[in-house]
């Protein structure tokens, strides 16, 4: 199938601003799914609220556009009732880690099979550029005109600590790596977390004088390095990208099936 057969063309051009990184994530995700040869009917995309969450309106899979921060809770219900489906949950950094932070760590802890994609633009894009838990110390936002004093956290480290069995990071500059990582994440039998550094030129970029969308992508190129590279040893400030964890851990839905089977024994 061609990439364009996986989208709802009637809703294009999409609503995202010129140069918004979320469109590049959509682009790579469609290519990953196309390369995996998956049919539209075996995928469910569940999203919350945010610019990033609008992605579910554009793909021609089964889609659910739910509540801010609650996508993983809805997705858990879908997966538990129909575990044969592939569940993909795209989220903004605010959606996943501010209001939805609790759902995030517990979905990771349970190791329920789904792919959580965090489109990290370090800001609340949809509501006008308020700072998010990922904006980071010393950045500017609509609600932090005198510099942000909140520290951010490392999504990959937090996902690993919470028990996610697949954890990876990439950026909108690294489009081939993005499609490759998404393929691995979708195939993984467990909770997969893929953090994608994405640009919001309209708010985060403008407030922090980062230039155009292309300039912001140049920064993703400059400020990141493959996991375990020599460059990282020399410059610890570089952000690592690649697959951090990919391990076999008992998956929640299959454990639940076993539990039912055990409980029914002798009845």
């Amino acid at each position: 199938m061609a990439v364009k057969d996986y989208i709802r063309q009637r809703f294009f051009p999409h609503i995202w601003c010129p140069g918004c990184g979320h469109g590049i994530v959509l682009n790579a995700l469609l290519r990953a799914i196309d390369q995996l040869g998956m049919s539209k009917n075996e995928i469910v995309m569940v999203s919350g609220i945010g610019c990033s969450s609008r992605i579910s309106g554009y793909v021609d899979f089964h889609t659910l556009h739910t509540l801010h921060g609650r996508a993983l809770a809805f997705a858990t219900g879908v997966k538990m009732s129909m575990p044969e489906l592939n569940v993909i949950v795209p989220m903004g950094d605010g959606d996943a880690l501010a209001i939805g932070g609790n759902h995030f760590i517990h979905a990771a802890r349970r190791n329920i099979a789904m792919t959580a994609i965090i489109m990290n633009n370090r800001i609340y894009g949809m509501t006008g550029g308020q700072y998010s838990p990922l904006s980071g110390y010393g950045t500017r936002a609509t609600t932090a005109p005198y510099l942000n004093i909140d520290h951010d956290f490392d999504i990959a480290e937090m996902a690993m600590a919470a028990g996610a069995s697949f954890v990876a990071r990439t950026t909108t500059y690294h489009v081939r790596q993005m499609a490759d990582i998404l393929k691995e994440a979708i195939l993984h039998e467990g909770f997969s977390v893929v953090e994608i550094l994405s640009q919001c030129p309209t708010y985060f970029g403008r407030k922090n004088k980062m230039g155009s969308a292309a300039d912001m992508m140049e920064m993703f190129k400059k400020n990141t390095t493959p996991i375990g590279s020599e460059a990282k040893k020399e410059n610890p400030d570089l952000i690592e990208r690649g697959i951090f964890v990919q391990k076999d851990v008992p998956e929640y839905c299959s454990e639940y099936d076993k539990l039912i089977e055990n409980a029914m024994k002798g009845q």
Partner: protein, 82 residues
Amino acid sequence: MGKVKLKEHIINREWCKGCGICVHFCPKNVLELDETDKGVAVRPEDCICCKLCELRCPDLAIEVLTETETSALVKSEEAAEV
């Protein structure tokens, strides 16, 4: 399979928002924004068919057609006509 050769760039002017990402990152300087801020291939003869413009376009507005394939979009439109 022989060497992949460019057939044409299909740029959807309705979907392109003129962000300039394709222009900025093309390794061969093939693309430019025209006076209405839409991406155009001004030096197609220099294109090496790396498809990075197609992969990085946030608006799914570029398709790089090569000799070995035809556009699925064009195909389905043609199919709709007959």
